[in-house]
Point group: C2
Chain length 207, copies 2
DNA sequence: GTCTATATCTCGATAGAC
DNA sequence: GTCTATCGAGATATAGAC
């Protein structure tokens, strides 16, 4: 019994995740979610009261997937440059496996985001959103030690993430530009992208 | 007569721009546009056949506002570092005056963007979207001269733009994080942001 | 718990008078 | 060119049988 409940609920949830990530909060269709989950539309309302709540659950899960998974790199004892390299690689690989997630989160942010505004303080308190804090601490320590020169750690974090995420947001433009000159090899470009970002940043902050 | 036409048409267009930028293609409401323009809803269809066409016009205008205005900095004769500095400052100031534009463009990109996909090749041909080309050329020349070291110019452009635009996309998160520690001074943060990005990049690419 | 059938609502679009 | 009134599609949500 319990197992069947979870099973149906989870089928719905997975289907909702796919649909919301793909079409966004407003573009998503409850019917489409029901079809994907291979259940009736009425069940969506049985398990999750309404679209808004379903979305809210999905968003929280997706947000944690991205921001709850790589902070450990800044907890471990290794040179800051190594953490940074691993973070950039890991971050780009993570998004590569879920390329629509950045736009999904950005859409929420751009809509004023009651959902995300309520979420962030809660996650920070619950220590599930530790990346900014840990990154800034480790960067600060690296500056103390003279490993890297002094810059504002929060600014640095934004530069790293911004540079990393932008490609996935702007890919259609990049593609459009590159195809005017030659072939567009996504896989290769992404590998280069990792190297490039690390290269620029590490040279930008070395003592 | 002609003047009255333009006047009403323009009122509609301005109202549509505000509404679409704020709510996006699907979130925008024709009724709201009509209200803002202080005309009847039927007039929207009289001047612009339907919502899609109205959106399309708006998007093109907005896109050009952002990408059609700063490329001249890379046409002029000055050291690459100076062009870069002016570009970063100008870019951030431009978005600061229109902070919702990045999310607006990103939303279009994320929705598969028939509109933008049709637009880009056309603008490139019409020489109204010259930023990537000019930037890459000037960066290439600067590398030849030894002003800066060799990096992939397109990767570099993406890093600059990504770093610049990310703040405006993620501001609610930044705000949330900063408010847990202290006060959040947007104006100051943005001025710092300009300096920081230039600083990291220019050190990242110097010979 | 799951389904069918349907109520209710929102919104883009149009018809037609002036 | 501009308005009022209304249509009709498409979506969320619910009632009620099983």
């Amino acid at each position: 019994m319990g197992k069947d409940n979870r099973s149906t609920e989870e089928k719905i949830f997975r289907a909702a995740m796919t649909e919301f990530i793909d079409k966004g909060r407003h573009g998503a269709r409850m019917q489409e979610i029901a079809d994907r989950a291979e259940i009736n539309k009425a069940m969506l309302h049985y398990y999750f009261r309404n679209k808004e709540q379903l979305y809210s659950h999905v968003f929280q899960t997706v947000f944690l997937k991205v921001f709850g998974s790589l902070h450990h790199l800044f907890e471990q004892e290794m040179p800051f440059s190594v953490s940074l390299r691993l973070f950039i690689d890991g971050y780009i690989d993570l998004i590569k496996s879920n390329p629509k997630i950045p736009a999904f989160i950005m859409r929420e942010l751009s809509e004023g985001g009651e959902v995300i505004r309520a979420l962030i303080p809660r996650l920070v308190k619950a220590e599930q959103f530790m990346l900014p804090g840990l990154f800034m601490r480790r960067a600060g320590e690296a500056m103390e030690k003279g490993e890297i020169r002094r810059v504002d750690p929060l600014q640095l974090l934004m530069t790293v993430i911004g540079a990393g995420v932008y490609f996935f947001l702007a890919e259609p433009m990049v593609k459009g530009v590159m195809e005017t000159t030659g072939a567009y090899d996504r896989e290769r470009f992404l590998q280069e992208r990792k190297k490039h970002i690390y290269d620029i940043i590490i040279n930008g902050i070395k003592s």
